[in-house]
């Protein structure tokens, strides 16, 4: 068993310094970030909706059926913009507006894959691709399992 890390209490000097840092630290522009994220996130959703409707019209799919290809298209756009080096420049302003939708997931996978291309296909791209997205997948699967379990218990 790994020993639980013990938290060392802060000395007075450390405490005083941390208070000073907290007081003087420049604040992130939270309000501006939230507004920008709200707007850009909304735009991403509008594009997603547009693509869904397009698939419904062109391919004659139902709303439920058009969802998956639409998501795949959004992932493709996110990946393409990452590859072209545009995504990170957009995300600088958009922040969570681009990170929360599926585009952010695509960006985290593709940027990692690109970054570790030079370490080879197996030890680089293959293993480092999910460096950032790995936790999302892991905890997504774990959460889905428990939700499924609860669902099964309550239905039967």
């Amino acid at each position: 068993m790994a020993r639980a890390p013990k938290k060392k209490p802060l000395t007075t000097t450390q405490k005083r310094y941390q208070e000073k840092v907290r007081k003087l630290q420049p604040r992130p522009t939270l309000f501006r970030n939230a507004i920008l994220a709200f707007i850009t996130g909304g735009i991403v959703c509008v594009i997603g909706q547009f693509i869904t409707d397009l698939y419904k019209m062109l391919l004659g799919l139902s709303s439920a059926e058009a969802g998956n290809p639409a998501v795949a298209t959004m992932i493709f756009i996110g990946a393409l913009l990452t590859g072209l080096g545009v995504f990170d420049n957009l995300a600088k302003y958009a922040g969570a507006g681009l990170a929360v939708p599926v585009t952010g997931f695509a960006n985290s996978v593709v940027s990692s894959a690109l970054e570790f291309k030079r370490e080879g296909l197996v030890l680089g791209v293959g293993s480092k691709m999910f460096m950032l997205a790995g936790s999302v997948i892991t905890f997504g699967v774990v959460t889905a399992f428990f939700i499924g379990l609860i669902y099964a218990i309550f239905i039967y």
Binding site: Y17, V21, F116
Partner: protein, 337 residues
């Protein structure tokens, strides 16, 4: 013979000279206000190489060979090569030393390496073991980002106190004899830990080390901040610089507000270039001191310079395991005598 004064300062009696220096920077740094003072500005972040690590090595080698050429020396005339960088196992320095074929000692002091190199070189010369020493250090924005932070194309918000790792390299030749600014005192820092944990806020983590080494330097030498024309820190950034000034007052009563600058604030145009709090990385203090300030010492603008380069001694692993970020700073007095 050199001696120790006070607690952490060493007087260098032989006063070795920095006979020549060379600096190279990446394209982004080449757009900054100090662009005229660098020997070479790369037009490509990859420097014509296949990876960012190879590019960083190319930059360090270029700086070393340029410094040698400018000083009119061959690698055979150099007794020792002291170098360090930010990459794991300081590969840039090791691979550069392989091509330079000069006996090599690796340094690791994170961003304090520029001052650590000068300090160790002058102490070795003082001992009489060597007469010509080449010191070098480098950092590369892309190779550092991928090791310490995120992939380059990953989209994320930067905090206002985050800093940009400098792409570039600096080299200097320290000699027992020769013309140039002389190294007279070195103050070797102690590792400080004031419980900072955020690896994106290194200015705050390193400010205590800068203040503690500076206060100790003034106490050991009996010189006040006013003795120097300029005191520079390596890469504290806007926020860390401000904290260091406050700490120097509260810890030692020294007023740094008049002649204390930060290389990390001089290298970029903070208004026009999107760098948040300023520059960071080994190359920040190296290219500014070995490039800009060295030339300003030679042309007489400054006569007495105190370089205090700070380094954060953390790794991504130590941060993930919840450790604080320890930091260090070394001071080197460089004077025109």
């Amino acid at each position: 013979m050199g001696k120790k004064v006070g607690k952490q300062t060493f007087v260098i009696d032989t006063q070795p000279a920095i006979i020549n220096t060379a600096t190279v920077v990446g394209p982004f740094e080449g757009k900054g206000p100090l662009k005229e003072y660098f020997d070479h500005i790369y037009t490509d972040n990859l420097a014509g190489e296949l990876s960012f690590e190879k590019a960083e090595k190319e930059m360090m080698l270029n700086a070393c060979f340029t410094a040698l050429t400018k000083a009119g020396k061959t690698p055979q005339e150099i007794d020792l090569f002291l170098a360090g960088d930010l990459l794991n196992q300081i590969i840039t320095s090791g691979f550069s030393a392989l091509e330079l074929t000069i006996p090599f000692l690796g340094l690791y002091g994170a961003c304090s390496t520029s001052a650590e190199g000068l300090a160790i070189a002058s102490m070795i010369i003082e001992s009489g073991c060597a007469s010509n020493i080449l010191v070098a250090t480098s950092s590369h924005n892309s190779s550092a980002e991928r090791q310490y932070r995120y992939p380059t194309e990953y989209g994320s918000h930067k905090k206002p106190f985050s800093q940009r790792t400098v792409t570039g390299a600096g080299a200097a030749i320290v000699s027992k004899e020769g013309n140039g600014p002389k190294i007279t005192h070195v103050t070797i820092g102690k590792v400080e830990d004031l419980a900072c944990k955020d690896p994106l806020n290194l200015g705050a983590a390193m400010a205590p080390a800068a203040a503690s080494t500076l206060v100790q330097h003034f106490a050991d030498t009996g010189r006040g901040p006013e003795y120097y024309d300029l005191i520079v820190s390596g890469d504290l950034g806007k926020f860390g610089h401000q904290l260091a000034i406050e700490l120097a007052i509260s810890q030692g009563g020294f007023d740094l507000s008049k002649n204390f600058k930060d290389c990390g604030l001089m290298l970029y145009d903070l208004e026009k270039q999107d760098v948040h709090a300023g520059a960071s990385g080994c190359a920040s203090s190296a290219v500014v001191t070995y490039g800009y300030l060295y030339k300003k010492l030679l042309d007489g603008t400054y006569k007495r310079l105190l370089l205090t380069a700070t380094g954060a001694l953390h790794s991504p692993i130590s941060c993930q395991q919840g450790e604080n970020i320890p930091s260090i700073a070394h001071s080197v007095s460089i004077e025109m005598i």
